[in-house]
Amino acid sequence: MIRAAARGPRRVGALLVTLLVVGAPEAHGQITVGTGPEFKGYGFDPGLGADAAELFVLPVAVRVPVSDRFGIDVFSAWARGRVEVDDTNLELSGPVDTRIRMSAEAAPWARVTVGAQLPTGHASHDSEEAVVASVLATDLLGFRESNWGSGTALTTSVATATRAGSWGIGAAAAYALRGSFRPSADVDSVRYTPGNESRVRVGLDRNFGNNTLTLGGTFITYAEDQANGRNLFRSGDRFRFDASYQFRASAGLWTLYAADVIRSNGDLTLRLAGGSGGAAGDTTVATADQNMLVAGLVGAIGLGSGFVFRPHLDLKLQARTEPDGSDAGSGWMLAAGGDIPVRLFGRSELFPRAQVLVGSIRDRQGESVPLLGLELKGTLRWSP
């Protein structure tokens, strides 16, 4: 872990510097760099598998608009996760995978995107780190990072849009090829290959005066994950429906949004060992299905002297059903907070943000366990 943590940032830094150096002379527009510490932490009442969980991330993002029609985005981060279980601190830290996305406008009505995930992340976890990763993977908690790394991936997408009367209608399809990685630091021999991923989306937009309504529906399906070349797990299909309405009230811009992400149950295939040591057969284990509804409002309130407070209210409701009918893991989360952006000097801006989170999650006994969280961010955005 320590080796990876030391090697990773150098690799990521070298990559970003290379991109900047190569991209800068060619850049058509302003290159933008964003970075800044982010902290999110929760305390849980007794009943769940952990007493506290927190994540500290130092992300770096670079955007290079090479031309009017072609741009490159790069993102990477260093992250440290901590989970407290029965007065024991478990940690997982290191760089995360680096993501590069190149987006080209092939025609005024078509856009092609090619993305790559470079395996710079700390993907191989020991048993303690695996506990941290699993706790941070709780969708309702909304941590930015949970697995640090999931191997190489190459993604492509094609999107097109047209106009029908007052409506803009778009459709897009994407496919992701996933490479393998070693998930366990303890068992060298296991190589895990997540299933390739297909996404299809239909989107609608309509302007009402200077306000814009956006609707969309996305379907995601996965091929089977493999462990050492053998089918292991097929993740459930996902459906995502979303709507947002962006409107102006005086000088402020407000957005009302809602999204519903439905995740069907997945199938885990287990091989049964026979008496002679060979395979006696396969069996299938269903995993939980899940439905998460998100709704919120983000906007701006002038404070005078050029300062603006941007409040943000966000409600998440998660319903999760285990194959045995248990609703453990279901819950809700209300987040309230905001940021006060500050222009520092030249083209640099600071976005300090704070958010308080309250909610509850059902434990295995069906009891709601309260939780309280805090999120602090200080993102610096700079255009050199």
């Binding site: 964003g34 769940l48 993002a61 993501r99 590069i100 856009r111 993305g115 695996a130 699993s134 706790v135 993977a137 697995n147 999931s150 993604t155 047209t162 803009g168 459709a171 897009a172 994407a174 992701a176 895990y192 996404r199 989306r201 989107g203 609608l204 937009d205 302007n207 009402f208 005066g209 200077n210 814009t212 956006t214 969309g216 996305t218 994950d225 797990f233 993740s235 995502r240 962006q246 102006r248 811009l253 957005t255 949004y257 997945g266 287990l270 049964l272 026979g274 006696a280 057969g281 069996t283 284990v285 995993t287 300062f307 941007r310 285990e322 952006p341 083209r347 976005f351 993102t379 955005r381």
Partner: protein, 491 residues
């Protein structure tokens, strides 16, 4: 619909008579006859003249509350050339509720005679509000344009005068932007009018967003004219800062257009923060002449976002992108028209706008609006107040129709047209992109709200955690179906 029974109609009706009962039978007869005649010819202006002044003055003295008589007296005094007295009586009549077409019209004429442009404009405006019909309506609409331009010049003079007298700075209007015509750094005199056309188009584009208060190009130009600046001075930063102070603008956008040989242009824009007198930011774009509109749009959108720190809604951005012309030569002709308009040469401006419309070859709201305005100004300039007053005496000139909404007002939500495909493309692209690069850079600007990242309700999966049934703080449970082969049997 001439008969509106509502109270405002009653208050407006010229010969309609809150005071009829006070008159004698003979007077009542004539009053009724006049009322009918007036109604029949759509409430024409009372036919009174200088000779009627003594009689009407006596009647008004006897019946000080008779607002109709006071209005007639005011009109007669105006026609007698006694503008001050006319103004006094007409103002009193109107202020006391006698807002009839003839009263408001002559109040406007009297103010205009005294070069009180703001008051004249207000009276004409109220006349149009109250009086939907009448052949004089278009004359007054043209008049309003002329009053507006006169007023801008007057305010520019006042601002310069104030600058000389008052050392203290006046607080700028929050979020206000003024676009100065760009300086022109080229030998190509044929395209020099672009500096006016570009300033006009940029002002229109900045005004798309309600987050900005954009000063009219005509207002800016009036001030520059009063400052007696040559075109070479437009691009100087001190000019921008000074013009901004005088206009009470928070930011001033100015710049230079440079030809780079051939048909290539470079536009350097500079945004001045007026309060601090410092540069808020500078941007430049280079493009071929035929790409002029794309260059202007890029400059405007970047200025709004990167310098003024305002986030645009997709609809606003689309409206800016849609405001363009097809033909650059038409745009140059449009600039020539604006230059002629600024110089008060309305007939020439009209010709240039006609030429621009011909070159453009299709309908263009901006050109048609400019032509209409200029035609109105041209007509208004050719019509002095005396001519207008005499036209008002024609039957049916001053109408008595129902209340109309103010000219130019709109009802309901107007739908912004434009091609939505860019926003829709982003919608669907972000929705499927399985390589999210974080919303770290998509935080909007420092003084505006930002759109919630598209990945709200994340669809990214954590494969190992999910497959191991551990994707969550409570872990996961499952049912294992065991298949036990019979000894010797098939598996």
């Amino acid at each position: 619909m001439r008969h509106d029974p509502g109270p405002r109609r009653t208050a407006r009706g010229a010969a309609i008579s809150p005071h009829r009962h006070r008159r004698s039978g003979r007077q009542r007869f004539w009053a009724t006859a006049i009322l009918l005649a007036a109604t029949a010819c759509a409430s024409g202006v009372p036919d009174v003249g200088p000779a009627d002044v003594p009689r009407l003055a006596e009647e008004a003295s006897e019946r000080p509350d008779d607002l109709e008589t006071r209005t007639r007296l005011g009109i007669a005094q105006y026609r007698a050339g006694n503008v001050d007295a006319a103004l006094e009586n007409l103002r009193r009549a109107v202020e006391d509720g006698h807002e009839t077409g003839p009263a408001l019209l002559h109040l406007g004429l009297a103010h205009e005679s005294r070069e009180e442009w703001a008051e004249a404009r207000e009276a004409y405006g109220r006349y149009l509000d109250r009086d939907a019909s009448g052949t004089l309506r278009s004359d007054i609409e043209n008049r309003l344009q002329l009053m507006g331009r006169n007023l801008l010049r007057e305010r520019a003079r006042e601002a310069l005068e104030l600058e000389r007298r008052v050392a203290d700075r006046v607080e700028p209007t929050p979020r206000s932007v003024a676009v100065l015509p760009f300086g022109f750094n080229s030998e190509r005199a044929d395209i020099e009018p672009l500096i006016y056309a570009l300033a006009d188009m940029m002002s229109t584009d900045f005004a798309v967003s309600d987050a900005l208060v954009v000063l009219e190009r005509a207002q800016v130009q009036s001030l520059l004219d009063e400052m007696a600046l040559t075109e070479a001075g437009y691009a100087e930063e001190e000019t921008g800062a000074r013009a901004g102070r005088l206009l009470r603008a928070e930011h001033v956008v100015q710049g230079v257009i440079t030809t780079l040989g051939g048909d290539r242009l470079r536009t350097d824009a500079n945004v001045v923060n007026v309060a601090s007198g410092s540069e808020a930011g500078d941007l430049n774009e280079t493009a071929a002449l035929e790409q002029l509109f794309a260059m202007e749009k890029a400059l405007v959108i970047r200025t709004i976002r990167e310098v003024l720190g305002v986030e645009l809604t997709p609809a606003e951005e689309q409206a800016i992108l849609d405001n363009r012309m097809d033909n650059v030569l038409a745009f140059v002709a449009y600039g020539e028209g604006l230059r002629a308009l600024d110089r008060g040469n309305y007939a020439d401006a009209e010709e240039r706008f006609q030429a621009a419309i011909s070159l453009e070859g299709g309908s263009n709201d901006m050109l048609e609006s400019a032509l209409e305005t200029t035609s109105g100004l041209s007509e208004a300039e050719d019509t002095d107040t005396e001519t207008l007053a005499s036209r008002a005496r024609a039957p049916g000139a001053v109408g008595g129709g129902p209340l109309a909404p103010p000219a130019g007002s709109t009802t309901g939500a107007e739908e912004t047209g434009g091609d939505l495909s860019q926003g829709t493309l982003t919608n669907v692209t972000e929705g499927v992109a399985p390589t999210p690069t974080s919303g770290l850079l998509d935080l909007g600007s420092t003084d505006q709200a930002y759109e919630q990242p598209k990945q709200t309700g994340d669809t990214e999966r954590q494969p190992v955690e999910e497959a191991s049934g551990e994707s969550g703080i409570v872990g996961s449970s499952g049912t294992i179906r065991l298949v036990i082969p019979r000894p010797g049997g098939e598996r």
